[in-house]
Structure formats: C-alpha cells, structure tokens
C-alpha cells in the first residue's frame, strides 16, 4: 500500500471548520426561518388587505344607509313621544271631572221650599269630589224638608257617581219664619256635605265591593 502524504491537511481542516461555522449555520437557519415568517406574513397581509377591501365596501354601504337610519330613528323617537304624550293627554281629557252634570243634579233636587245659598265644590288630586251646600229649608216641618232634600240628593247623585256620601254638617232652626205660598212657615238652615267619585275612579276596595254586589 502506497504511503499517502496529505500536504493540504490544514487547508482541509480550515475548509471543514468553515463549513461547520456556527455563525454561518445560524445565519442560514435564520434566513430559512425568516423566509417562512415572511411567507406567513405575506399570507396574513393578503387576508388583511382583502378584509380591508370588504370593510371598505360595507362602510360605503353604511354611509349610504346611515343618514336614512338616523332620520328614521329620530322620526320614530319623535312619533313614540307623540304617541305617549297623546295617550297621556287623552287620559287627562277623558278622566276630567265634569261639574255641569253635578250642578244639574243638585238643581234638579231643589224643591220650591228649599233655598240654596252656597255651593262649594272641590276636586282633589285623587278624584274625590267634596261639595258643601248651604241653604234654608222652609215648611211646617223644615227639618223634615231638609232631610228630604238630603235623601233626594243622595239618591240622585248616587245614580251618576260612586262612593256617594251625603251628610248633614249642621241643621238648625231659624227664629224668623218666611212666607211660602202666602203662608208663614218656619225655616231651618242646613249645611250638607257631599262626597263622591266619578264612575271608574273608585278605590280598589270599593271596586271589589261593587263587583261582588253586581255578581249577586
């Protein structure tokens, strides 16, 4: 076997070392990883760009629709406000207490021997109406005439209203008689308190009571 002398041993070693240079290998690995990353980034960037294009289209569509929607929302809000306000106003109008029928009822109860000198009616927030009547009753039995007037009031007012209560506050004989149908008759001064509620404005307890009595 022939003896071989490698005179380029050092050169070979250097060449090997160059090939195994960690920095070179690292740079190559970095380059490879960087390339993969760049490709991945490119893919993502492409997706983002296409999303941006779609978003731009949707934004344009929304820009067209938005003024109409804002206008419609504003109008709907306005209409909603009008509807609720109108309903509340309707309730206020419909739930008003009308005094003319009460006056008519009271006037219808005043007999020729009854004189009404004062009428004071008050409507409270809870729709309870209180009326104070003052006047005189004349007749051979003035107190009986006043009581008759009270009963008639109770009956007639009760026909149109609920929770009607008609009570004497005072009833006193007067000294001076008056002429009634050319006859001198004694007089009594009365003061009557009426309380009533319009139908439909009863308290819950009264409503239940009324419903129970209607069922019977």
């Amino acid at each position: 076997m022939a003896l071989q002398i490698n005179l380029l041993h050092e050169e070979f070693t250097q060449e090997r070392q160059r090939k195994r240079d960690p920095l070179k290998l690292g740079m190559m690995a970095l380059g490879a990883v960087g390339g993969v990353m760049l490709l991945f980034y490119g893919g993502k960037a492409y997706q983002t760009l296409s999303l941006k294009n779609r978003l731009s289209g949707v934004e344009q569509e929304w820009a067209k629709v938005e003024p109409q929607v804002t206008k419609a929302q504003k109008r709907a809000q306005e209409l909603q406000g009008i509807i609720t306000a109108s309903n509340v106003l309707d309730q206020l109008v419909e739930n008003r207490f009308f005094w003319a029928p009460v006056l008519q009822t009271v006037a219808g109860c005043v007999a020729p021997n009854i004189q009404l000198t004062n009428f004071d009616g008050t409507l409270s927030e809870d729709k309870l109406v209180r009326i104070a009547l003052e006047g005189t009753a004349a007749g051979t039995e003035p107190r009986a005439a006043a009581e008759e007037f009270r009963q008639l009031l109770s009956e007639k007012v009760g026909e149109g209203y609920s929770q009607v209560d008609v009570q004497f506050k005072s009833l006193e004989d007067l000294d001076a008689p008056v002429m009634l149908a050319e006859t001198s008759v004694p007089v009594a001064r009365y003061s009557i308190l009426i309380s009533l509620r319009p139908r439909g404005e009863e308290t819950p307890a009264t409503k239940a009571q009324n419903e129970a009595s209607e069922k019977k």
Binding site: G26, L30, L79, S86, L89, V93, T117, F119
Partner: protein
C-alpha cells in the same frame, strides 16, 4: 455513540450570537410585523361585524319607522289638534280674554280671570306642556245660565278642568250668584 464535537470558544460565541440573532428576529417579527397586522385585522373584523350588525338592524329600524308612521297617524293628528289649542304668545296674554269672551257669549259678563300659578306637569311624557291654574270670578252669574256655560266650557276646552267651584247667593242682587272657579289648563310650551 459519538460525542458532539467540542466547540471552541470562538464557536461558542458564534452560537450565542446566532441564538441572540434568532431571538431578535422573533421579537422584531412579532412586535413590529405580525402583531400590528393581527391587531389591525382584529379591529377591522370587529368593525366589519359591527357595521354588518348595524346594516341588519337598519333594515328593521326603517321598517319599524315606516310602520310607526302609519300607526301613529291618529295620535299625531290628535296631538296636533291639542297643540292647536295653545295660541302663540304667553298664556296670560290670551287665556283671560278667551275666557271673558266665552262667558260673554254665554251672557255672563264681568268675568275676571287671574293667573294663580303655573307648574310643570308630573307626567314625564308631558315635559313640553305646562299646567296653569287660573282664578275665574263671575260676579253676576245666573245659576241656570252658568250651568249651561260650564257644560259648554268643559266641552269646548278639552285641556281645561275645574278644580274648585264656589257659588254664592248675593243678598243684595237676588237674581245673580257670584261664582268663583279655580280652573287648571294645560298649555304647550312655545
């Protein structure tokens, strides 16, 4: 089992340098490239979803508004009619003459109308309306004529109601009664 080639000091330094370079690359990639891109993409997706949702809702809103327009026709006309009951100007300027004229037409003269107070209504829906309270004195009223006048007033003025009504017989003028009214009126703020 072959042992790993023993690295020289210089090679170890290069390996560390390569590792640092790799870490730097990763950091730069995620911090300055992929991170912002993902954030931007997420923001766009969110905005897209939001807009698409708005577009879907807008169709419903438009339909709702148009159907409301149809159903609110009656309420709108009623509301306009009630608004029309409030003339231009301060109520103190137009309400007393209106009531005086009204009672004058009912043959009840010498009506005196004074403003008692005004306040906002309790109902939040009627924030555009104000409640005025008026003291109305009719020194020369006939009971029968007054009864008819009250009925006519209550029918003619839907936004007015009487809170207190006092009728006194007048000892010196037996044919007349003095009437005092406290009337509340709802007026549109203008």
């Amino acid at each position: 089992m072959s042992a790993l080639p023993k690295l020289s000091k210089e090679q170890i330094q290069k390996v560390i340098l390569s590792g640092m370079g790799f870490c730097l690359l990763i950091y730069i990639y995620f911090t300055f490239f992929l991170g912002p891109l993902n954030r931007s993409r997420t923001a766009m997706e969110r905005r897209m979803a939001d807009l698409q949702n708005k577009l879907r809702n807008s169709k419903t809103e438009l339909r709702r508004a148009s159907s409301l327009e149809v159903t609110a026709g009656d309420a709108t006309s009623r509301y306009a009619a009630m608004e029309g009951l409030t003339p231009e100007g301060a109520p103190i300027a137009w309400f007393p003459p209106r009531i005086k004229t009204f009672f004058g037409e009912q043959k009840i003269d010498k009506a005196v109308v004074r403003l008692d107070r005004n306040a906002d209504l309790k109902e939040p829906e009627l924030s555009d309306w104000t409640r005025y309270s008026w003291l109305i004195t009719l020194p020369e009223a006939d009971f029968a004529a007054f009864g008819k006048a009250i009925a006519a007033l209550e029918n003619a003025e839907p936004l007015l109601w009487i809170e207190r009504l006092t009728i006194h017989a007048q000892p010196d003028q037996l044919q007349f009664q003095q009437v005092d009214l406290v009337a509340a009126n709802i007026v549109k703020k203008k």
